[in-house]
């Protein structure tokens, strides 16, 4: 019953929106806005063929590699910078500088340096996704409770054990907030990295459709992006709830007081 209710909530609003869309476009022949039926037909025809292998999966692959690398590098570097005061003082201004650079402007630069390769696209994704993870990790590490840290210290929990049992879990909520931002930036950069001088990928394909006035096809590409976003968000929420179960419980107790 509870599950049914959950599903009801999840699909309720989308259903209403699609119905509204169907009604609004019914009988009308606006070239730029396809009907749901047209879109569905186009969708199947456009994507359930070669394009899955040649464009969709490679894009998703680069997205996964880029985002994963950004998360790992961000957390490791964040742990290091957050734990060492002089390193923090040293890197802070530089980090602010790099973070302020909008990653899309890096695309032409990286293209010159690395050529139009998969690695270039992955690097574009990493270069934009890493900041929220890195900065949040640094903040999370800095904000470790002094009493908790002293407790761990008096019980000889130092070095790797300290990272594992104290630093990582303690910074967990902050890190996960960074990861959430990282994912949405990743999707945007995946598209942008394929828009310049590329010859395959989701971003390239969508721009291509747009230029050749293949409007329903273009829309279907946008739908794919939306679906990828939803899937990422579900995976994120599922993982977050498992990792931070304690945190949500704690917050609930605190709020109840």
């Amino acid at each position: 019953m509870k599950i049914l209710k959950g599903i009801g909530y999840a699909v309720g609003l989308p259903t209403i929106l699609v119905l509204f869309w169907a009604v609004a476009t019914a009988g009308e022949a606006n070239f730029f806005v396809p009907t749901p039926a047209t879109l569905l037909a186009t969708f199947a025809e456009t994507w359930f063929g070669d394009r899955i292998l040649s464009d969709v999966l490679p894009s998703i692959g680069r997205l996964i590699v880029g985002v994963t690398a950004a998360i790992i590098i961000g957390i490791v570097a964040g742990l290091l910078i957050g734990s060492v005061k002089w390193l923090r003082d040293l890197t802070e201004p530089v980090l602010e500088f790099f973070r302020a650079i909008p990653p899309p402007v890096l695309v032409p630069v990286l293209m010159l340096l690395m050529g139009i390769t998969d690695s270039m696209k992955v690097v574009v994704i990493i270069s934009g996704c890493i900041w929220p993870v890195l900065l949040n990790t640094i903040e999370g590490v800095r904000a470790i409770d002094g009493v908790l840290s002293d407790s761990a210290h008096t019980y000889g929990i130092t070095g790797r054990a300290r990272i594992r049992h104290l630093v990582l879990p303690s910074a967990g909520p902050q890190i996960m907030a960074g990861v959430r931002q990282c994912l949405s930036i990743g999707l945007i950069l995946m598209v942008i990295s394929e828009m310049f001088a590329s010859s395959s990928g989701l971003g390239f394909t969508i721009v291509q459709f747009q230029r050749s006035f293949a409007i329903p096809e273009m829309w279907s590409g946008i739908v794919i992006l939306g679906l990828i976003g939803v899937a990422m968000s579900f995976i994120f929420q599922f993982t977050e709830r498992r990792i931070l179960r304690w945190y949500h419980g704690l917050r609930e107790v605190e709020n109840a007081v």
Partner: protein, 289 residues
């Protein structure tokens, strides 16, 4: 440096410094300890000069007005902070970082347990970290939880428990760790009166059972007299020892009878007076330099 004790039962002639012992008798020695904090607003001398010894298996209470440097002293003793001058010796060896034989229970129980670990994991972690084999670990954790009366909630998270229960988890963690010296920094300041009485008795039970050396910091005069074999009274900051007092109450103590003994009242009265003096800025003659 005066280092001799006054007559055991004479509470009217206070010792100006803490009691010290002959070379090998001391479990814990504090020698000429001074701590000055360097802050933006200039140096703050929290502790001026403290010297005392704790015999192995002793239960001493440390009382002093708030801000008199009790926490500072404990942090120096536990190796979390280096003193500005002087030294701390544990079993004759100078303390330079948290020693393995020592456990600390902090006042802020809500912030000293890992909120991402269940009660049992919290108690077990220090043992795991020491690579104690599973079977022995399980036994120690079970015994400790049993001792503090928490065998029924091993799978709860600390934040699901009341304040008193959380502090008992922290005590269980310290007990399971089997320290030779246990430091406690106003551990019961934030729990309700009834729980507090229970926890006091728990400390005495644990102490007798394990033979551990305990330094118990409190700002509660009754608590210090009820718990300790000895009460070290601190002056106000910059801190020296106001008096080192022997508590000659019977070893068997219970909340009702002990607290209604005339001797308890006398001692309590005396400590109270000393604290008032300390607050008023009076300093023992020997330290008036």
């Amino acid at each position: 440096m005066p280092s001799e004790t006054t007559d055991k039962n004479n509470v009217t002639k206070p010792a100006p410094a803490g009691r010290t012992l002959q070379n090998n008798d001391a479990m814990l020695s504090v020698r000429g300890l001074k701590k000055v904090y360097q802050t933006d607003g200039g140096p703050i001398e929290a502790v001026r000069n403290l010297t005392f010894d704790l015999r192995a298996g002793e239960l001493a209470c440390l009382v002093g007005p708030s801000g008199s440097g009790k926490t500072t002293l404990l942090k120096c003793i536990s190796g979390l902070m280096a003193p500005t001058e002087g030294q701390v010796l544990l079993d004759g060896v100078q303390v330079s970082g948290p020693p393995k034989k020592m456990a600390v229970v902090f006042q802020e129980y809500g912030r000293s347990l890992f909120p991402w670990m269940r009660v049992r994991e919290n108690v077990e972690l220090p043992l795991k970290n020491q690579r104690i084999p599973k079977a022995e670990r399980d036994r120690l954790v079970d015994e400790a939880l049993e001792a503090v009366g928490l065998s029924h909630v091993p799978m709860s998270y600390p934040w699901q428990l009341s304040g008193g229960m959380q502090q008992r988890v922290a005590i269980a963690r310290a007990v399971a760790y089997q320290p030779e010296v246990l430091l406690m920094d106003e551990p019961f300041a934030a729990v309700d009166a009834q729980t507090r009485a229970d926890l006091e008795d728990l400390i005495r039970t644990v102490w007798k059972k394990l033979g551990v050396t305990i330094l118990f910091v409190t700002h509660d005069i009754d608590e210090s007299v009820y718990l300790g074999e000895r009460v070290i009274i601190l002056s106000s900051s910059p801190t020296v020892i106001q008096e080192d007092l022997v508590i000659d109450l019977p070893a068997e103590r219970d909340q009702l009878n002990t607290r209604s003994l005339p001797r308890f009242t006398e001692l309590r009265h005396h400590v109270y007076e000393q604290i008032q003096l300390a607050k008023a800025g009076h300093r023992p003659a020997a330290a008036a330099r």
